[in-house]
Assembly symmetry: C2
Amino acid sequence: MASKSKMDGSIGAKNKQKILVAAEKAFATYGFKGTSVQQIADEAELPKTNILYYFKSKQGLYVAMLQDIMSLWNSRFDQVTEDDDPAESLADYIADKMTMSRTHPQASKIFAMEVLNGAPYLNKFFSNEHVAWMEGRVAILNSWIAQGRMTAVDPLYLLFHIWACTQHYADFSAQITSLRGKTMKRADFDEATRQLVQLILSGCGLTVPEKYAESAK
Amino acid sequence: MASKSKMDGSIGAKNKQKILVAAEKAFATYGFKGTSVQQIADEAELPKTNILYYFKSKQGLYVAMLQDIMSLWNSRFDQVTEDDDPAESLADYIADKMTMSRTHPQASKIFAMEVLNGAPYLNKFFSNEHVAWMEGRVAILNSWIAQGRMTAVDPLYLLFHIWACTQHYADFSAQITSLRGKTMKRADFDEATRQLVQLILSGCGLTVPEKYAESAK
DNA sequence: CAAAAAAATGACTAAGTGGTCAGGAAATTG
DNA sequence: CAATTTCCTGACCACTTAGTCATTTTTTTG
């Protein structure tokens, strides 16, 4: 019927997806070197040769999975303009990133490992889209500062610190769980988000929006 | 002469140290699985078999190196009491941790990898010394809050956020370098430290001590 | 200086790895 | 329904790896 989709391999597409999910789980747990194609195959419940049929090599699969992951790195903050409210925009951004850490910890860990390793497969992305994104956001933050709507902090470092804190909850969950004696549940993430929003916004001379203020209890 | 040191193998001790240094460099760059004993041997300029002679296995060497690294995790903040000044104590702690990221990035990366991996070799440390340390620090922060000397933030999350931001400069240096277009020099670290101290302290309702205030421009 | 202990090392092994390939099964298409 | 393309897979290979072992060299010690 749909003449358009010709034959993009409905079977192939489904298997590729299955493999990508398995790869994400395995790579997040054992790293690139620590993961064997066989492990991914077991996780995906497919024979090893089948993995190599869809993805030409282990590295090819890894790169495909990385691209998949990078597409998650979008948020409402991408569309914010200098006319928006600094406090609400930043608070929402922090909350979005915290949600990512809660719902996609594996993706965060893989990203972290990749950067720790010198980001060999992300350098192109970093020096293109990412730099452009950064420049746009920095300009807006500087505009807010020039308008006297927030304290004069360096926007670059501010963004670094927001990333550091939000990703920390995914990447260092093992340490956090050990120190708390229990895993972070949804309610704990909400509390951490409030704490972080308060810290960052106060640090920028902003008032915490109603919805991120102290909750029940 | 010194009858005490009997024969703790002055040669052995020196070689062990050499191997540990080489191992730190290799493991930080390629991870545990990604590093071969041969690479460490090359780096240490010793035959591979010699590595296995001093450390019974690759894993044994890794654990020994981890212990070495964990001993670096001390700072002036360990001795702070509830009578000390919150602003100065916290600012100094942040500065200490930033210095660690600048001078020992490899140690930070290895620690990060280990925790990312679920901290298999650190769980014992986490649930003993580390928890005790944490409780002590939390008590002091709570005391400062009770004394009305700082805003009522949750000390646990505050410490998480300090770690996250400071370690970020070592662990994510690849990303930071890409986005800045140049590596972080000593002066950049100093600026980042001032920015972070300002952010955190303001976020806690504290006044930034003189020595961390805006510097020459 | 001889005996004992510590240090060094080349040759080897057993296990695991990513990847190839040829041949066959299933699905799609004209 | 035949032909073509896509999909699937067992057998296999070249290579790397951690770790062993027997032997030799160096250092320490009585």
